[in-house]
Symmetry: C2
Subunit: 80 residues, 2 copies
């Protein structure tokens, strides 16, 4: 089964990378851009009996490795 994990910073956590991107967009002439936040995405394939099983495995991977749950939120989508 294919899984997509989206990891984003929690609201309120400073995002200097996002701020730098916002500044660069302004420098390139893109006006009216705000609230830029950068996150991560992981696409992976996992052996699982069904979607429920896959979700549970990927959820465990997120809490143990893929996301820092102190400062990040994550969401999991399972397909196929």
């Amino acid at each position: 089964m294919k899984a997509r994990v989206v990891v984003t910073l929690k609201p309120g956590v400073l995002d200097p990378q996002g701020q730098a991107i916002e500044g660069s967009l302004g420098g390139l002439g893109f006006t009216g851009v705000s609230a830029v936040r950068q996150g991560k995405i992981f696409d992976l394939e996992v052996d699982a009996t069904d979607a429920e099983d896959a979700r549970s495995k990927v959820d465990s991977m997120c809490t143990r490795l893929l996301a820092n749950t102190v400062i990040e939120n994550y969401s999991v989508e399972i397909s196929e």
Copy 2:
């Protein structure tokens, strides 16, 4: 309007970061995980008259700054 940009490596482009994550997941005891690929996500707000206008602006940001279209694909979702 809110926009979410997802940037992923094109198929065939080496992803050492993804390989490292796959190795780490194996080391943590997660078996049956394969094809791990890491990508980036950008959440931003853009001033636009309608969704069409927002999409066109964000598309331009992607080609000029957010994505390296030689090795990366991107997709844009507009909401609100």
